[in-house]
């Protein structure tokens, strides 16, 4: 396939390599400053963007990066921005042997930088691009391997040979949070309360020893243990003004098993379900978190905040 010639308005099913050419690859860039590099990469995309708005695009990409560093894998960053008036997804790639600092964290220095610019009204485009790169993002050493390539042509061929295809749709697995807090069904209420407090969470998935989803403990359920319906009927709160019903919970939190208060009222999707199923579940069931399963194993969670950020802002 020749570089860039298969790029269609719809990127579904297209290969990732069709989104850029070797002219949009800055190989072995000497730039070490993040903002300067983003500026250079945007300039490399100049013809696709139109010269008039380059400064605006640079500003948007840097602002986005400031909000949330896009280091998605060791040594790899995917800065991006949504651009009004842009007709299609465009990509620029840069490699650096010295490394460019994208975040203050350990591992914040990256060697492979993939700038993804998407149309402003295309919610799934960036996620599709990330999804198509999932194969190389998860392989250790990818950044060093690409950074060692000594020409734009070779870098382009690396992506082309990888068979990286933009998926037809974004899956739940693409937007889920893989690192999440959970509790075991043989934990006690005490453990759940500690986690609620420490992580400022409203829901905690409960898993068994094999990682299979067993239930969900919500902060609401904990409150309900203390304030059941029959107490809430009363208008006069004087009998509970000093949180008397909570005393029982405190007395027994160490011996109340989560299995006793966890709920089976939750929304799950499979990892490969279209991400829109997540939104559907949230809207129809009025929940703020969807649990993602691989078989019966809990592999991720998608909070409503994550969904909105990923689909409407990233």
């Amino acid at each position: 396939m020749s570089q860039g010639d298969s790029m269609a308005d719809s990127t579904n099913g297209a290969s990732f390599s069709s989104l850029f050419t070797s002219y949009q690859v800055l190989c072995h860039t000497p730039i070490v400053d993040r903002d300067e590099l983003i500026c250079e990469m945007v300039r490399a995309l100049g013809p696709a963007l139109g010269q008039g708005q380059l400064d605006q695009v640079v500003k948007l990409a840097i602002e986005r990066e400031d909000e949330m560093p896009s280091v998605l894998a060791p040594g790899i960053a995917l800065p991006h921005a949504r651009i009004r008036g842009l007709q299609r997804l465009v990509v620029a790639v840069s490699t650096s042997q010295k490394g460019v600092r994208f975040s203050d964290d350990v591992g914040g220095v990256v060697k492979l930088i993939i700038l993804v610019l998407t149309p402003h009204d295309s919610p799934a485009a960036y996620l599709q691009a990330v999804s198509s790169l999932a194969g190389i993002l998860q392989v250790p050493g990818t950044a060093d391997k690409v950074a060692d390539l000594d020409s734009g042509e070779k870098v382009w061929h690396f992506f082309d040979r990888g068979g990286l295809i933009l998926p037809d749709y974004v899956c739940a697995g693409d937007i889920m949070r893989r690192q999440f807090v959970s509790v075991h069904s043989d934990d006690t209420c005490e453990a759940a309360i500690d986690l609620f407090v420490r992580h400022q969470l409203a829901d905690l998935p409960v898993v068994d020893t094999d990682g299979r989803l067993a239930g969900l403990v919500t902060a609401d359920a904990l409150l309900k243990v203390c304030l059941p319906d029959y107490i809430l009927w009363m208008q006069d709160l004087s009998p509970i003004i000093n949180f008397e019903p909570f005393a029982e919970l405190l007395r027994n939190e160490g011996k109340t098993w989560l299995a006793d208060i966890m709920s089976d009222d939750y929304v799950t999707v499979s990892e490969d379900s279209p991400a829109i199923e997540v939104a559907k579940g949230m809207c129809k069931r009025g929940v703020r978190q969807v649990l993602v399963l691989r078989g019966e194993e809990l592999v991720g969670v998608i909070a409503i905040e994550d969904f909105i950020t990923k689909v409407l802002r990233e």
């Binding site: 319906d229 107490i231 009927w233 009363m234 208008q235 509970i240 029982e248 027994n252 006793d260 009222d265």
Partner: protein, 498 residues
């Protein structure tokens, strides 16, 4: 009664059901026309049939259909404003308004919280004790307040205990609902049907205590026995969980000091005022049932003065205006059936078919009202059937109608308001529905057994029932072996149609 909820009907389903209502209503019109009914009678029957069908197929639209039906009756000159006011049973409606406000105040005062805490805090509770307690509480609460209030509060108790112990709430919910339906026949305030019958037949609260309450108790005892056996496995499981929890020294729920005394006083005064209305009316030389209907209003008024800052809330939230307006429209339509002469004509046909024998008519009316109430709103059914029973002029038949309507509600999960409310609470909580067939199996057994018990009880008591005017304008309720002469003959013919 109420059909399953119809939210989310597809346009195709709406169309099919709409056509079904139109076709069946038109068939009703043609059928009664073929029987030589007059024009107004045909219209009254058709509008009533349409309301019943709409209740069954378009539960969400039942009030709209009721309004349209009344408008149709007015337009066709089958109903006048005076007739409407006369037939819509305003005293019953006002009684229900007063009771709903009083129940709302009792709830806020913690009266029901106190009752539930008494049970939640019981020591040495076992599965059997819990099941019996739930059923007896459901029945007695239904007697003392009403079936809807009873099931709302008992549901909370069932879910509290079952969810805490992680056992299925379904069996205990079914027990509670069935006991509520049975208990609602025990007093006139247990069910709108009881109120309606008491108002039309002129029964007092004491009449209910003497003639209905014992039969209700017999039915309840039978049902308790049947349900304890039917759900023995689930009850045993609850016992085991209770024992485990007891060993962990954990309660079934938080127990707080509830200031229940004010609520208890209000409850006792309200029940006493209703219970002794007949004696007080006699003492004050008031027309029969005057105090019965005004006592809840007076008590509600006093409560609204006392808690004036919440008065608007009680009126707007605690009173179920939707249901009450539906009842008013329904009663007016039943009134149209009566004054156009449909009721007396059907009564005559009934009397002829069963040789005017109340002993034969008793099981027939009990059975018909039980079957009818299993599938149609029991208030709808009783409203339609009451004028017929009124024309048949035999006291035991009123009780047969009451028990049939209340006990028949147990057969299906849509058989009564209590069932529908309990299912709604269950669905909201567990996001799934109860199994229709599971309910039907146990419901049929309980329904049939309790109807047989009620039949036996009423037959035994029938000869002792007083032969006295059922209503100032009615005839006499006679039973073959009663001590006084039975002047009641079946009516000669329909009232002159308008």
């Amino acid at each position: 009664m109420p059909s399953v909820r119809h939210k989310g009907l597809t346009p195709k389903q709406m169309f099919v059901r709409g056509m079904l209502v139109l076709v069946l209503s038109a068939s009703t019109a043609l059928f009664v026309r073929a029987l030589d009914y007059t024009g107004p009678q045909v219209i009254a029957c058709t509008v009533f049939a349409m309301t019943v069908l709409a209740t069954l197929l378009f539960w969400e639209f039942r009030l709209a259909v009721a309004f349209l039906g009344i408008a149709a009756l007015f337009s066709c000159d089958v109903l006048t404003l005076d007739r409407f006011v006369e037939s819509c049973e305003l005293p019953v409606i006002l009684f229900l308004v007063g009771m709903m406000i009083t129940v709302g105040v009792l709830k806020e005062l913690g009266f029901f919280s106190w009752i539930i805490q008494l049970i939640v805090g019981m020591h040495h509770m076992t599965g059997t004790a819990f099941a019996v307690t739930v059923m007896v509480l459901s029945a007695l609460l239904a007697c003392a307040v009403d079936e809807v209030t009873s099931i709302v509060f008992v549901c909370a108790l069932v879910f509290q205990v079952c969810d805490t112990l992680r056992v299925s709430a379904t069996p205990f919910l079914i027990m509670a609902v069935m006991a509520t339906n049975i208990g609602s026949a025990g007093t006139m305030i247990g069910n709108p049907v009881g109120l309606l019958i008491s108002h039309r037949a002129g029964f007092t609260f004491e009449d209910f205590l003497i003639w209905a309450f014992p039969v209700m108790l017999a039915c309840l005892l039978t049902a308790v026995g049947v349900l304890l056996v039917w759900f023995r496995r689930e009850i045993r499981e609850l016992s085991e969980r209770l024992e485990e929890r007891r060993q962990q020294k954990q309660a079934l729920g938080p127990l707080v000091r509830v200031p229940y005394r004010k609520g208890l006083v209000i409850f006792v005064v309200t029940v006493a005022a209703i219970a002794f209305h007949h004696r007080l009316e006699a003492l004050l030389d008031l027309e029969q049932n005057t105090l019965l209907m005004t006592a809840p209003l007076a008590i509600a008024g006093i409560l609204m003065v006392w808690r004036h800052e919440r008065a608007k809330h009680y009126i707007e939230v605690e009173v179920d205006w939707w249901e009450l307006l539906f009842f008013m429209m329904l009663f007016a339509k039943a009134g149209a059936l009566e004054h156009t002469g449909v009721a007396s004509r059907v009564a005559r046909d009934f009397g002829t078919a069963f040789h005017g024998s109340p002993a034969l008519l008793l099981p027939v009316i009990l059975g018909i009202s039980a079957i009818g109430s299993a599938f149609v709103d029991n208030v709808v059914f009783v409203a339609a059937f009451m004028p017929v029973v009124r024309e048949l002029q035999a006291t035991p038949l009123w009780w047969a109608l009451l028990f049939g309507a209340c006990l028949g509600g147990n057969v299906t999960m849509i058989g009564s308001a209590a069932n529908v409310i309990a299912i709604g609470v269950f669905e909201k909580r567990h996001r799934r529905s109860l199994d229709f067939w599971q309910w039907l199996k146990v419901g049929t057994v309980v329904g049939v057994v309790t109807c047989v018990v009620a039949w036996g009880g009423l037959t035994l008591m029938a000869k002792h029932m007083p032969v006295r005017p059922l209503h100032p304008h009615d005839g006499w309720g006679a039973w073959p072996d009663s001590h006084e002469a039975a002047p009641a003959a079946l009516p000669d013919g329909p009232e002159e149609p308008r």
